[in-house]
């Protein structure tokens, strides 16, 4: 529902509460997939940082960034890990030239 339609409904003195409920539900329905993704991403990030903390507790000299990046890469297939490494390595070599 567009903003102008909402204004029209309001000007017709439609009960605000019922309209707002419908409007909010429609907005939520649109946002639901994004919200689900965001919630999933937050859960993943929490799990990841818990695992990093656990490893750092066992290896206090380790750099948390290195540990975090390793754990992220381990979730990717080996070929993708190699592709990323080669793309970045070759790009930086060209840049240095």
């Amino acid at each position: 529902m567009k903003w102008c339609e909402r204004e029209l409904f309001l000007s017709l003195e439609m009960p605000v509460t019922s309209f707002d409920k419908t409007f909010n539900v429609r907005c939520l329905m649109k946002q639901r997939p994004q919200l689900a993704h965001a919630v999933k991403a937050q859960r993943w990030a929490r799990r990841l940082s818990a695992r990093v903390e656990k490893i750092i507790a066992a290896h206090p000299q380790a750099d948390p960034d290195n540990v975090r990046h390793t754990l992220i890469l381990l979730e990717k297939p080996p070929l993708e890990r190699l592709q990323r490494s080669l793309i970045r390595g070759r790009a930086s070599a060209i840049f240095l030239k």
């Binding site: 695992r51 656990k54 490893i55 066992a58 290896h59 380790a62 750099d63 290195n66 540990v67 990046h69 390793t70 754990l71 890469l73 381990l74 080996p78 070929l79 890990r81 190699l82 990323r84 490494s85 080669l86 970045r88 390595g89 070759r90 930086s92 070599a93």
Partner: protein, 135 residues
């Protein structure tokens, strides 16, 4: 066998590399020349100033390694390999622990930069392996 930093990346180490280092037991093997022919490349034997190398566009990502600092012979090190699945193929990849040992032995300026990263990656991968075993 895949060695060097490309082998480390296949095992999850967050490092960058420019090529894939390959260590062969016997460079004269017919399978190698057949595979090279298939991608329009060729093996160039060592000369006075050049190490053995691969030439041709199909092989430009690959380098040949004849020995590794701080490591044993090919026959000894193949025992320290892990199998990494790439599609339908299984690659022999030198273990992260042995890659770290070779970087420590070589100790060139570029190795010194990667040693702490490899060490941390080894700690992380070992903890992941322990977690998987527990499950």
């Amino acid at each position: 066998m895949v060695v060097g930093l490309s082998a480390a990346t296949l095992q999850g180490a967050p490092v960058v590399t420019q090529d894939v280092d390959l260590w062969f037991e016997n460079l004269g093997e017919s399978k190698i020349s057949r595979a090279l022919q298939e991608v329009g490349a060729a093996y160039v034997p060592p000369s006075a100033f050049n190490p053995p190398m691969l030439a041709g566009t199909g092989a430009e990502l690959f380098d040949i390694v004849v020995r590794m600092d701080g490591l044993g012979t090919f026959a000894q090190e193949i025992k320290n390999c892990i199998d990494v699945s790439l599609g339908r193929q299984k690659l022999k990849v030198l273990s992260l622990k042995r890659i770290l040992a070779s970087k420590l032995a070589a100790n060139r300026p570029k190795d010194k930069l990667t040693i702490p990263v490899l060490r941390d990656a080894l700690a992380a991968t070992q903890s992941v392996k322990r977690r998987v075993k527990k499950k």
